[in-house]
């Protein structure tokens, strides 16, 4: 048997073996790559997976909620960038609140650099960032005579609607203060407020191999080498017999 024929047989055999062995991985890479390419169309950039086992795998230790803010019939518990306002979960990446006050027709949550104004039904009326606030950082939020009051390093300001602010003349202000949660409540709220991993991030880590740590990308690199070998051997197997026929 000629060396060329031997090489051809060798290549054909290994082309088939590598292709068969890697079919699951290649399909996996193809599917995750396709989904990642259309992640915005599928809305994956805004979806999060909340699972304790996944957090453990990622090495993320959830921060348990320790305090609650209460005002009238409303309460807010926050942890891990998530808010539970009157039992309703917010999205992700929310700031740490400094207080909560109830006003006629609205509930206001303050962070150090923003205010969130909610209607009584929980719908967001407005989000005021630092440029719409009289001063930042906000140190405390309170209410007095149906006015929203903010304490900052530059003074204490009040507003009835969060739009027009003026220096607060009054002393009788009920400042929002955190209340410690009981151990049972901490445990209950910790489960509700555990952090999430975005689906897009998860897919990206699966696709790149990073989900398996430092050696994961090397394994994906190896698959890339296999793919290159398959392409080259496939091309050779495709062209070589044709080349021979053309010579005859």
């Amino acid at each position: 048997m000629s060396p060329k024929l031997l090489l051809l047989l060798f290549l054909r055999r290994w082309h088939a073996r590598i292709g068969f062995a890697a079919v699951v991985f290649f399909l996996f890479l193809a599917v995750t790559g396709f989904v990642l390419n259309h992640s915005a169309d599928f809305g994956l950039d805004t979806k999060y997976v909340h699972a304790a086992w996944l957090l453990r795998w990622y090495g993320i230790a959830p921060e348990p909620p320790r305090q609650a803010f209460r005002s009238g019939r409303h309460d807010l518990i926050a942890a891990n960038g998530r808010w539970l306002l009157d039992g309703r979960l917010s999205g992700e990446k929310f700031p740490q609140p400094v207080g909560l006050v109830e006003l006629p027709g609205m509930v206001v949550v303050a962070s150090s650099t923003s205010l969130y104004l909610y209607g009584k039904d929980g719908a967001l009326i407005d989000r005021l960032e630092r440029n719409a606030l009289p001063a930042v950082p906000v140190q405390a939020i309170g209410s007095g005579e149906q006015q929203l009051v903010l304490r900052t390093a530059r003074g204490t300001f009040e507003s009835s609607d969060g739009l027009a602010w003026e220096l607060a003349p009054r002393d009788a202000i009920a400042w929002s203060a955190p209340a410690e949660l009981s151990a049972a409540d901490r445990e209950r709220y910790a489960a509700l407020l555990e952090p999430g991993i975005s689906v897009q991030q998860l897919l990206l880590d699966l696709h790149s191999g990073r989900i398996a740590g430092r050696y994961g990308p090397l394994a994906v690199d190896l698959l890339a080498v296999f793919l290159a070998v398959l392409s080259l051997s496939g091309a050779w197997l495709f062209l070589k017999p044709r080349h021979r026929r053309e010579r005859h």
Partner: protein, 175 residues
């Protein structure tokens, strides 16, 4: 080894998270933009979005508007809107000036995405000059930018929303 893998994953997430925040670049404070456009900062006005208006805004955005109260500024001729919309993952803050139902001026004020900052360049933004509403879209095609497709889409949606809000604010003013 598994612990090391977990640590590196957690670090990656923290690094990417921190990077996303660090990338938030303020090109101009919204208040400064309003003052520049109107010469001073006139009294703030408010457009409350009724259920019907929310539906109209949702048809443009592809999702319900984030909030029910939209702040804006105006003088005798123009209205100024500071709007926010998500590009890929983060919010883009942009200022829109509307005159006679046409976009007069657009500026990207805060850009928080890791890439796609090209949408702030005047060569891109000048495409919006004199754009009018046509259905739920603009009356023209806006040329995209390679690598910034989602940010370009967000800018188009915000421009169309500014035109809707401008019309609604005039409707409200005239009763």
């Amino acid at each position: 080894m598994i612990c090391a893998a977990r640590r590196s994953l957690a670090v990656l997430i923290l690094v990417f998270g921190a990077t996303a925040v660090a990338h938030g670049e303020v090109y101009q404070e919204p208040g400064a933009f309003v003052a520049e456009v109107l010469g001073s900062t006139p009294a703030l006005k408010v457009l409350w979005l009724t259920r019907e208006m929310q539906g109209q805004a949702a048809a443009i955005l592809g999702h319900p508007p984030a909030q029910l109260r939209q702040r804006y500024w105006s003088d005798a001729h123009k209205t100024v809107w500071i709007l926010e919309e998500t590009g890929k993952e983060e919010l883009i803050t942009a200022g829109f000036v509307v005159v006679d139902g046409r976009i007069d001026h657009v500026r990207v004020l805060v850009y928080r995405e890791g890439r796609g900052q090209e949408v702030r360049q005047s060569s891109f933004l000048k495409q919006f000059k004199d754009a009018k509403a046509q259905g739920n879209r603009l009356d023209r095609d806006i040329d995209g930018i390679v690598g910034a497709t989602l940010s370009v889409g967000a800018m188009e949606r915000m421009a169309r929303l500014a035109l809707l809000f401008d019309r609604l604010s005039h409707d409200n003013a005239h009763g």
